[in-house]
């Protein structure tokens, strides 16, 4: 099964191709650009280049996996609109994956639980906690790094590097979701062959909008 993985939840614009055979994952090719303002420009060209580099076409894809955040950039929607439209046009399923789970799936197997944090901007992080085997035990949440109450000592994701001092946790790779991590995190859903869950972004924040107060007078009484 040939899977296109897409993620635009972090400053990285990621599109990559992974083959899934039984339980075996084989990375084929990818295109990644770290630029928080280029998601809308680059995600489709990256998908086309990755597919071409792997020697196939979009028509050869069997499924799409898309990181659904949490992510602070309007760019998150660029990847998701792309994944949803590609899936519709190609007549293939698009599976949602929590982008933090994709980072966790790439953390080298160890003994200890760990955190995954990404930059939520406004001096906050998106975070989730994982057991040593990369299963999520808490989150995702959005919080200021200093307000995080945890005894976990290692943390992956770019948020872990940005806020290493405030967190008191040792930052470890990776910083961003990879194509392989995304497909790993979606492996069960892909193999089950069942209807994918809806492609809904994990916003975690409400839109900034305030209802107008009583109208201000233009004349002074």
């Amino acid at each position: 099964m040939l899977v296109l993985a897409i993620d635009t939840s972090t400053p990285a614009v990621t599109a990559g191709l992974v083959a899934l055979d039984g339980d075996t994952l084989e990375f084929r090719d990818n295109r990644v650009t770290v630029d928080p303002r280029a998601h809308g420009e680059l995600i489709t060209p990256h998908a086309l280049e990755a597919v071409k580099a792997a020697g196939v076409t979009l028509r050869d894809l069997d499924a799409i996996v898309c990181g659904v955040g949490p992510g602070p950039f309007t760019g998150l929607r660029a990847g998701m609109a792309t994944a949803a439209s590609l899936a519709h046009a190609l007549g293939i399923p698009a599976h949602p994956v929590c982008s933090l789970d994709a980072i966790a799936a790439d953390v080298a197997p160890g003994e200890a639980p760990f955190l995954v944090l990404t930059d939520a901007r406004r001096r906050e992080v998106y975070w989730a906690a994982y057991a040593a085997d990369s299963t999520r035990t808490d989150g995702p949440h959005v919080q200021r790094p200093a307000d995080l109450e945890t005894t976990i000592e290692v943390a992956a994701g770019d948020g872990a590097f940005l806020y290493a001092d405030a967190l008191g946790a040792q930052p470890i790779e990776p910083r961003f979701p990879s194509a392989l991590g995304l497909v790993k995190a979606a492996r069960e859903a892909l193999r089950s062959g069942s209807e994918p869950a809806p492609l809904t972004p994990l916003y975690l924040r409400r839109p900034d909008a305030v209802e107008p107060a009583a109208r201000k007078k233009v004349t002074t009484p």
Binding site: L48, M80, A81
Partner: protein
């Protein structure tokens, strides 16, 4: 040459998908026009909230495409080219439509055209009234734009003669509606109230009509303040507000300035056709006064039906068809939406 063109629009609060057929004689036929609006989600905020609009676009995009194809009885593989609004508009909202359009174009392996929303408002009239004359004037009035445009070629040559220096006409309607305690969006309720009122009851100012003002620019901020001032004065005196008369007098001031400047521009540029489009084009007093003044001046007036005037995908598909017919080159798939796309750039 591509025959079936899909148009995708997401510049503000309407997710629009249109399908048109380009005929051999370059006429354009409407096949489907589906819109999902998030207007209700913005009502309590009194204006469009960009993040709310962007979230709604993402949710509505694929379902709206599906509905358009169902309506037209076509398959995705029948489409020969895609046109998408590249700007102007809200950055986060445009991004969703552009991302979706690129993905559809890549998956279907067909050309993509990034086109101008404002030009789309003019091109949509060809779906109802046929090809435009060699040269015409367009007045675009909506919640987002107020522009007087000279159109030499809908696919490539549009010149801005004037625009608003502050609020868009539709914005002034929203703000005046609020002053009068009428719901959002303000256009329809003010139009309704005005029908029972006297447009000459209160002499509200006609902005930018002085001898030293820019001939073809507009300003509605002073008018909006004048209405608020008048209403507050009446409130202070303990008088009941004659909502119908205020609405009619406000509407008269808007329609008077818009049509006066449009007719003057048509005369000065020797143009004999005026197209009025955009959400406010549906306003009854504006179309009435425009018809009257155009008849007097010997100008042909073209106003698309209300459904075509508001933001939709059909206007983008129609413009896309004209751009295709003119042989303009498609966009590269790495283009980005431009929230401030100037009207001279019809396709990028």
């Amino acid at each position: 040459m591509p025959r079936i063109i899909m148009g995708i629009e997401s510049s503000c609060d309407e997710t629009g998908v249109g399908l048109v057929r380009l005929h051999d004689d370059d006429t354009v036929e409407l096949l489907a026009d589906e819109v999902a609006s998030s207007v209700d989600q913005h009502a309590r905020f009194g204006g469009v909230v960009p993040e709310v609009a962007s979230r709604a676009h993402l949710e509505a995009m694929v379902p709206t495409v599906e509905r358009a194809f169902d309506k037209a009885g076509l398959k995705l593989s029948d489409v020969d080219a895609i046109a998408v609004t590249a700007g102007p508009g809200l950055a986060g909202a445009l991004l969703v439509g552009v991302a979706a359009a690129k993905a559809y174009a890549a998956a279907l392996d067909i050309p993509l055209y990034g086109v101008n929303h404002l030009a789309g408002h003019i091109a949509v009239d060809t779906l109802q009234h046929g090809p435009l004359p060699d040269r015409c004037l367009a007045l675009l009035v909506s919640g987002g734009h107020t522009q007087l445009l000279l159109v030499d070629d809908i696919a490539s040559e549009i010149t801005e003669l004037g625009s608003t220096v502050d609020d868009a006409a539709g914005e002034a309607y929203d703000k005046v509606a609020r002053v009068l305690g009428l719901p959002y969006p303000g256009g329809p309720p003010i139009d309704k109230a005005a029908k029972n009122g006297d447009g000459t009851a209160i002499a509200f100012p006609r902005g930018m009509t002085g001898p030293r003002d820019a001939k073809f620019d507009f300003s509605f901020s002073g008018l909006k303040t004048a209405v608020a001032r008048w209403v507050e004065g009446a409130e202070r005196r303990g008088e009941e507000i004659p909502v119908d008369d205020v609405a009619a007098s406000f509407q008269e001031a808007v329609a008077d300035v818009l049509t006066r400047k449009a007719i003057r521009a048509a005369k000065e540029h020797g143009v004999d056709t005026l197209v009025i489009s955009g959400g406010v084009a549906a306003n009854s007093r504006l179309s009435e006064l425009a018809a009257e003044r155009c008849a007097e001046a010997g100008i042909t007036l073209r106003v698309p039906r209300p459904r075509l005037c508001t933001d939709n995908g059909a206007m983008i598909a129609a413009l896309g068809a004209h751009v295709v017919a003119a042989g303009r080159p498609p966009a590269s798939l790495d283009f980005s939406a431009n929230p401030a796309l100037p009207v001279q750039i019809v396709s990028i």
